[in-house]
């Protein structure tokens, strides 16, 4: 049985901080298909369009009928553990530091047998298991066999926690706690067991409903934070950068203009200043310290969350300049993800559809409630996903984007 995770002891400042090392990350191009699905929390394998045979490891042709049209298809995850080993010797540094390491060999219900990381609570073979796909610390999709049924403290398994970004006992910075999204995020992160939550706030003359009550949450510490103020962010980065385990950037400006309905650049500039430059300032001042703590024990620096918008994928003209700022922020976040790679800190980009808040007044439902968005973000951290499309609108938008970005552009252009 997995022992429940304990609150971390105070760090001994004399000991060397363990440097981040990545597990082997080289994959073939076709092999990256599993990573693409795992980045969204899905376990997909290739299935032959011609004969339906499921293939693994990833390949270019169906090994049954030699068909070359293979479609990544979601798996049930059901399988039978056939054999296992507990590795005490590894050739790679990452695993060498984490010995012993449990592995299983699982026959999937859909056909193939897979080598998988094996959760500590799975009984000895033969036994039924549930296989899930997760991103490992190198950001590559891997398979993990977990108990068929939920067991106590399942998420605290040492190996599983290597693949996830669970906020439990971690220190979290939420950059704007005043917006409805920010407030919901603070409450949800507190529920997830974070040990300390820094909540940024700006414009002290504004006291939105619910904000004052955040201070009643014992883990919350309010801090003045303005992503448009370079010096403010610089100082906070120095003070907190080496302590933040998860940074959630909720700071956003959202106005509803296109190009011709409002002359001038002031609004667009403000959106860029917060949504794009704000992210850049935060990244420059917090990322380096977080990167150095990517393998700092049980409660290492682990994730950077950007609340973006599904309109980053394709422009929504009535929110045109906002969409553009989101596209810019998404692109920058991809850069951050690549620069974070050696540190094993994960970037989680969240692409909600319209959030149910005042600036989306004119958009018809469904709109995602801030509470639901916050719940989905925490679940995504626990699953270690990299791209989250929370709610029905975002899911649909993403599937339309995958199907044909040009059609999506035309549809959004129709209003």
């Amino acid at each position: 049985m997995t022992n429940p995770l304990q609150p971390p002891k105070r760090k001994n400042p004399i000991l060397r901080t363990r440097q981040p090392i990545l597990p082997p990350w080289t994959r073939s191009r076709v092999g990256l298909g599993m990573t693409s699905a795992a980045a969204r929390g899905r376990f997909e394998l290739q299935q032959c369009d011609g004969c339906g045979a499921v293939q693994y490891p990833p390949r270019e042709m169906c090994s049954d009928c030699l068909g070359t049209e293979l479609t990544w298809t979601e798996m049930s995850g059901r399988g039978q553990l056939i054999s296992e080993t507990l590795l005490h010797h590894a050739h790679d540094l990452y695993f060498r530091e984490r010995m012993p390491w449990r592995l299983g060999y699982v026959k999937l219900e859909e056909g193939p047998s897979v080598v998988a990381h094996l959760h500590g609570d799975v009984p000895a073979p033969p036994t039924a298991v549930n296989v899930i796909a997760r991103l490992d610390r190198a950001g590559r999709g891997v398979l993990i066999a977990i108990p068929e049924q939920e067991v106590p403290n399942m998420a605290d398994d040492r190996q599983l926690r290597e693949m996830t970004c669970d906020p439990k006992f971690r220190k979290v910075l939420i950059t704007d706690g005043k917006s409805e999204t920010g407030q919901a995020m603070v409450r949800e992160i507190a529920r997830a067991g974070a040990s300390l939550i820094w909540v940024g706030h700006t414009e002290p003359w504004k006291q939105p409903e619910g904000f004052a009550e955040l201070a009643d949450i014992p883990e919350v510490e309010l801090i003045p934070l303005d992503v448009t103020e370079s010096r403010n962010i610089q100082e906070l980065g120095k003070a907190l950068g080496g302590r933040v385990d998860i940074l959630i950037n909720t700071a956003q400006v959202h106005r509803t203009h296109g190009i011709t309905d409002r002359y001038g650049t002031d609004v667009a500039k403000m959106e860029m200043e917060v949504n794009y430059m704000g992210l850049l300032r935060l990244a420059q001042n917090f990322a380096p310290a977080m990167m150095s703590r990517g393998a700092d024990g049980q409660n290492s620096a682990v994730a950077w969350v950007n609340i973006l918008s599904a309109f980053a994928l394709a422009n929504y003209p009535s929110h045109g300049t906002y969409s553009a700022s989101q596209a810019a922020a998404m692109s920058l976040a991809q850069c951050l993800r690549a620069e974070f790679k050696p540190s094993a800190v994960r970037v989680l980009n969240v692409f909600p559809g319209p959030i149910d808040e005042p600036w989306n007044q004119m958009i018809p439902p469904p709109k995602i409630a801030p509470e639901r968005l916050a719940r989905d973000v925490v679940a995504a951290l626990k699953d270690g996903v990299e791209d989250l499309y929370p709610g029905d609108v975002a899911q649909e938008m993403y599937s339309r984007f995958r199907e044909d970005p040009k059609i999506l552009e035309k549809e959004l252009g129709d209003g």
Binding site: P24, S28, T85, A90, V115, R140
Partner: protein, 397 residues
């Protein structure tokens, strides 16, 4: 069908008077600064010295090596200064010895070459083995190495764990084989393991990949092996003792639908192997198995017809596996006690079998050895060994 191949419809020609001769071993060392080319060159030099022929008389060359990259057999011809009219490169790991023999024997039989040098060799520096693992194959890179990077230890741990659970083979059974092979190795000056191994030491050795412990795992090293294939008349003219080839088999990617490897390609072709030689398992005087881990020995006992599937445990308990025992296994000590010199590990058993059948053993001589069975197993491409091969060899009367 029982998974076995049809015998009658695929009658294979015998090898007529094509023979194997000149067993050569290039000294094994744990680590060496020398490249694979160096070991291959020494193997070839050993062959021409033993045969007493000029290098130019070698008109066929068959090469196996993991570490020859970026070269292949082609580049090697320039290194060695040979101009063969027949050239082959066999990238089949543990099956490369028998498969190389098959190719070479047909080349000689058909007149494509008169004298084929079959050589294998590999280097080993401290990081050679580790560097090989991550890029061993696309499947290994995508679907195995990222999982604990245990290399073959992890793969064979899965087979071993399965065999123990499913068929009741115990660690003591595996240990008995390892101890017997070590006993055999003690007379082989080339074996890297020089000390006797007791069953207690085997059982109490440190865990590597449970249920595998230290002495279950082959030790990578550097070294080389070689032999010559030619017609009997030529060998006699050169005064070389030789061995007859009774029959051979090979198979790749057998039983792909088995959920885990519990049998390998031999099980498809074993009837062919004995049928064409007109022999039975009872006629075999010793077995040179492919033995990088003891579980694969056990699989060979079953798949090569010495006992039924699932009965290897009883077979092990009923036999003695030393050179003078009831079932002599790897009389030179095998890879488990000699060391695994990369692709040369696929030659080790074949070269020793030729020695045994020509009274030039590396160490102990199996008494009255007339028929030897050599078996190869190679290339854990993803989750199972893909290449299998075997040859029945007979002492020349």
């Amino acid at each position: 069908m029982n998974g076995r191949a049809h015998v009658a419809e695929r009658l294979q020609q015998t090898y007529d008077d094509v023979v194997i001769t000149a067993p050569v071993t290039v000294e094994y060392v744990r680590y060496s600064n020398r490249s694979a080319h160096w070991f291959l060159a020494l193997a070839l030099r050993g062959l021409i010295e033993q045969a007493g022929v000029a290098k130019s008389e070698i008109d066929g060359l068959c090469v196996s090596s993991f570490q020859l990259v970026p070269d292949t057999a082609v580049g090697l011809t320039q290194h060695l200064g040979v101009s063969p009219r027949w050239l082959d490169h066999i990238p089949m790991g543990g099956a490369c010895g028998v498969v190389g023999l098959r190719r070479a024997a047909r080349a000689v039989q058909c007149g494509d070459a008169e004298m084929v040098a079959c050589i294998s060799g590999d280097k080993n520096q401290v990081d050679t083995f580790r560097n090989l693992l991550g890029s061993f194959s696309q499947y290994a890179q995508d679907a195995v190495y990222p999982y604990g990077s245990g290399g073959p230890n992890a793969s064979f741990a899965f087979f071993t764990d399965y065999y123990m659970r499913e068929y009741g083979v115990t660690r003591e059974d595996f240990g008995k084989l390892c101890v017997a092979q070590r006993t055999n190795a003690l007379a082989n000056p080339n074996a890297l393991f020089k000390k006797p191994l007791t069953l207690d030491e085997y059982l109490n050795a440190r865990v590597i990949a449970d249920p595998l412990h230290l002495f279950d795992c082959v030790m990578p090293c550097a070294g080389g092996e070689g032999f010559l294939v030619m017609r009997k008349q030529r060998a006699e003219a050169l005064g070389l003792p030789y061995v007859n080839i009774l029959s051979t088999i090979e198979r790749h990617n057998a039983f792909p639908d088995d959920p885990i490897q519990m049998r390998a390609g031999w099980a498809m072709d074993v009837d062919d192997l004995y049928g064409r030689a007109d022999k039975t398992p009872d006629d075999v005087d010793f077995l040179c198995s492919y033995d990088d881990y003891p579980v694969i020995n056990v699989m060979q006992f079953e798949d090569l017809g010495f006992c039924a599937k699932g009965e290897a445990g009883d077979f092990i308990r009923a036999n003695e596996f030393t050179w003078n025992g009831s079932f002599p296994l790897n009389p030179s000590g095998g890879q488990l006690s000699v060391g695994q010199a990369g692709a040369a590990g696929g030659y080790l058993g074949l070269v020793e079998a030729v020695r045994q059948l020509t009274d030039q053993p590396s160490g102990y001589q199996v008494p009255d050895a007339k028929v030897g069975l050599v078996s190869g197993f190679g290339m854990i491409n993803y989750d199972r060994g893909l290449c299998t091969a075997a040859a029945l060899l007979e002492r020349a009367s």
